[in-house]
Symmetry: C3
Amino acid sequence: MALLNDDRLFPADEGTRAIARRLYEGIRALPIVSPHGHTQAGWFARNQPFPDPVTLFVQPDHYVFRMLYSQGVSLEELEIGRPQVSNPRKVWSIFASHYYLFRGTPTRLWLDFAFQELFGLTERLSAATADHYYDVIDDKLKTAEFLPRALYDRFGLEVLATTDSPLDSLADHAAVRASGWKGRIVPTFRPDSVVDPSFADFHKNVQALGELTGEDTATWHGYLQALAARRAFFKAQGGTATDHGHATARTADLSEAESEWLFGKVLAGGADAAQQELFRAQMLTEMARMSLEDGLVMQIHPGSVRNHNRQIFERYGRDMGADIPASTSYVEELRPLLNRFGNETGLTIILFTLDETTYSRELAPLAGHYPCLRLGPSWWFHDSPEGMRRFREQVTETAGFYNTVGFNDDTRAFLSIPARHDVARRMDAGFLARLVAEHRIDEDEAVELAHELTVGLVKKAYKL
Amino acid sequence: MALLNDDRLFPADEGTRAIARRLYEGIRALPIVSPHGHTQAGWFARNQPFPDPVTLFVQPDHYVFRMLYSQGVSLEELEIGRPQVSNPRKVWSIFASHYYLFRGTPTRLWLDFAFQELFGLTERLSAATADHYYDVIDDKLKTAEFLPRALYDRFGLEVLATTDSPLDSLADHAAVRASGWKGRIVPTFRPDSVVDPSFADFHKNVQALGELTGEDTATWHGYLQALAARRAFFKAQGGTATDHGHATARTADLSEAESEWLFGKVLAGGADAAQQELFRAQMLTEMARMSLEDGLVMQIHPGSVRNHNRQIFERYGRDMGADIPASTSYVEELRPLLNRFGNETGLTIILFTLDETTYSRELAPLAGHYPCLRLGPSWWFHDSPEGMRRFREQVTETAGFYNTVGFNDDTRAFLSIPARHDVARRMDAGFLARLVAEHRIDEDEAVELAHELTVGLVKKAYKL
Amino acid sequence: MALLNDDRLFPADEGTRAIARRLYEGIRALPIVSPHGHTQAGWFARNQPFPDPVTLFVQPDHYVFRMLYSQGVSLEELEIGRPQVSNPRKVWSIFASHYYLFRGTPTRLWLDFAFQELFGLTERLSAATADHYYDVIDDKLKTAEFLPRALYDRFGLEVLATTDSPLDSLADHAAVRASGWKGRIVPTFRPDSVVDPSFADFHKNVQALGELTGEDTATWHGYLQALAARRAFFKAQGGTATDHGHATARTADLSEAESEWLFGKVLAGGADAAQQELFRAQMLTEMARMSLEDGLVMQIHPGSVRNHNRQIFERYGRDMGADIPASTSYVEELRPLLNRFGNETGLTIILFTLDETTYSRELAPLAGHYPCLRLGPSWWFHDSPEGMRRFREQVTETAGFYNTVGFNDDTRAFLSIPARHDVARRMDAGFLARLVAEHRIDEDEAVELAHELTVGLVKKAYKL
């Protein structure tokens, strides 16, 4: 009995599957390069055991609790949002008895991988096996081999990027490096909280930015200086990239005077929604300009309508599974930025989307032309077998493979990292196998491409 | 010689096909639950023979005559819109000689199924076989086993929902029940004609609603009372659901005073297009509120541009194959309604779409979060093998299977019901078989899911 | 060793592949009908050798140089935009050493086909084989069998349509016919430069149109007369179609007086962007009216944002690989035109799109209803194996096969024509094979359909 089959996710056709197997064998054991995600440097700085199964698998994973919630399980029952889970075994039992809801979802694949590969569990999770699971996981979490640093090694991680506020001291990153441990945990500069006026505490954050850098962030000039200074600090701490989570992909190219005026308006809290949007747009272009100067790779993640569920937001705050993708467009939106910097070969901008219609219509044509553009992998809701397949099928013919950047796990769930990369490797092997089986590329090319998609392109794009 | 192959619609790969066959065998003979469609209760109340082949297969089926029309066959030749067909054999012969146009369409699958399974025809329909077909069908229609009630039994129907105006007396439904026949024909409350101000005779309809209920529908309060009363009446007649065919998915959450003012404006005929849209939007929220109270399941079918062809509309009226889907969005549109009722576990709202781009981008993320939301099956133009496949591939990974509600045949063509359900069962079996073949679920889970997708989920969602 | 496998592009499943092979064998040698493209009549009028490999394969092909550009190769290095290439061997070597970038793209398929089938090359192009390739191609280009007319015959072309300005004298077309050579090179009327006010030199072009026809194109009436006269001239020179490359699919149905006023405004250079758009919209309807009169088939190609890269446009001009598709819609946009002429069976309008989301949502429903509408094949970025597959999968179930018009190669690259048609034939064979394997059509029907998709439908739709 096993949760995982060695051929999982490969195409069913025997001939194609045989090719996929061979391609996968060549990449399955390659190190994991994780250039974008939401794990915490503090785990590796402190190297303490993860607590109970619920705190590890249910509480932080909005993929998990949003599905349970959609089927009538309340967040109260799951003890979501509590500083500490009072009855983890009971929450675990609710989760286990609803595990069938995840059939056909990537969450099921990720969890089964962790259950079997890390904890040696081979019977399916259900109400009947809930206690057994709980006991096995809880026990193992207390052992040395389940400490964060040990897992980092066991996962074959080569580098792991976190995502951090410009106001973060990066003390945990420094502590990791100071510890002498050989793991590489690098920060990513995510300035949303100081460039997006709709952000809670925007004004306070800009002030804090000034204090941190000694710049006068009440002025446009000082504000930009402060951002540049923090970028330099992140770079000095090992960072190679920035990340921008905006509602749209809109960019702007305002004059110095217009920017200055707009910043004043925004900072004074007098900007309306359109002006706030324009400010975010201008800031993307400013960030691109700084990237051209300091070499940090720029990631743009647009198109999520945040906190769609008002009641959940008011009760539980951000990132509670109630973010919903919306229609997104890039062609006119990116034009101001691209008109300034699009032809720069020294700049790398990695585009992501939650709107799959843009793959073949906009993103592949853009990335297949502009030297600065690359396409990030299928993201968030689309980080799944079918989502990955659609990405390759809709992007490759126009952008080629070499304008993409390999896989991102983008996860808060540390234990899901190897599972997620394994899914991506298998899906890429399967996609390449189909191209080989249909005689669109030769197998020696597929071998080379599989390696590129797994480690080559990601290292190059992210300068890792 | 046969029109139908036992393996039709299953994936070609032998291993996958074998799994699909096994899964299909487990569900092929399950009763048909038909929770949404456009057949007529009167057929079962009166139990009279269907007339000739043309009146059965050509006249009522806009899938059929829109294709012929697109290829230059006039509606006059087909005698569309006539109270009675004067030369059915001639119309049948035109249809037969154009039957090749349906190659690759679901209409072909549905018709071949009816031809072979119901009428024993096994040679392909064409000019050469037109007369033979006509004679065989015409003869059989006169026999007892082709009376509506006999067909209901033969099809294995367990329940059949019709779609009805709030002004309908539901006398036919009552007659069916009074007759002692064991068939279950239930009404569905479809209030478009009394909640959509752009509807022909809106004002007259609202007045009629008042007369029917004894409420003063000239006031907002009386209007709402009257709607609640008709809903209660439908429920008493066996109804379990409402249905709403709006141009968009827009909802609103106006204050009592705003609603009252808007209703006055709309009723006086003074509302402009934006105000009419706002009224429809508010009415969706009112209907959700009533559903929470009376337990009727709410279906929303947005996104069709009705009567696109002015000339056809002026000459032949509504529902003549000239409705065209348009780009639809849900995220901001549903927000007002969801902000009020989205977290209610006692409410069920089933969303449909004609815009497939919303499957993965909007609908699956919404249904995978909000407890009240479920996704209806692929609809209308997308109620087809490829359409069903895209639905499962784009919805399942985010919403799972359990936030969907099984199949709807949504048909006016009674004889196509078993064919349509058979297509859905085969496509689901094939989709599940692929998941099994790719080791994404186990076969015992697929067996359980196949059953759920065929009868379990639909009964639960529609409370049938 | 070979670049091409006989089974390329066929589905991997053995049973399906066997059917695809049989279907393909029935169409592989059929003549090529090329109803839409951008080759030059002058080639056949003068029948001179093509120059070196670079001028043939790299310089004119924006599919090629946009990919190289996207990966940091400058257009200067490639000598793009130069009247003559000074160092073709060096440019060829740059191209060859980047040939791996095209893995998984249709460009790779097209080029490999030309390399092997026309030049007998069987080792993959790379830095190592660059010189060998250059020598072989360069040598062969000087031989008689590589002259344009010889290639026309060798390709099995039956007719080849060019795309021409209304101001073109069509002297080359006349010269071809006068030469007594049996090849058929027909012009296509593409009036963008005289109907689109945003076009460079619009005013001058309208003036030239007047001079050419002896009409007073300063008046609305004279302008329309002049256009009709040039259409008649194109028709007399063998033309059967017009082509319209607009930013959107918008049409209008203004009164005579409104049109006249708008034309005056536009001609005087005083029209704003919205008025220019309205003028283009009205002109589509005028062109449809003329098509109904003179029988020219109308092609509409909307949805490309031209010259997206300002720097490239300023330095190199139009058509340099920097056109990017944008979201496009048809339902409301085409309504004015369709309300006037949509029900005419004597009119043929062929619709294209760069926005694949419209296939199932808008285009198939429209073409499956209106007698005048047909769907052009997948276009430009989507003229690729996956693009063709998506087109068939998303269009066929609603529009059927018979509302489509076969394949267009749409190319400037003469040598890619047989390769492109071969890809289309193989993909159609594969798609039909799947329908047969899944028992959705019978094989005798697929044989007939394969023939229709290859030559039947295109000849009928384009009246060739």
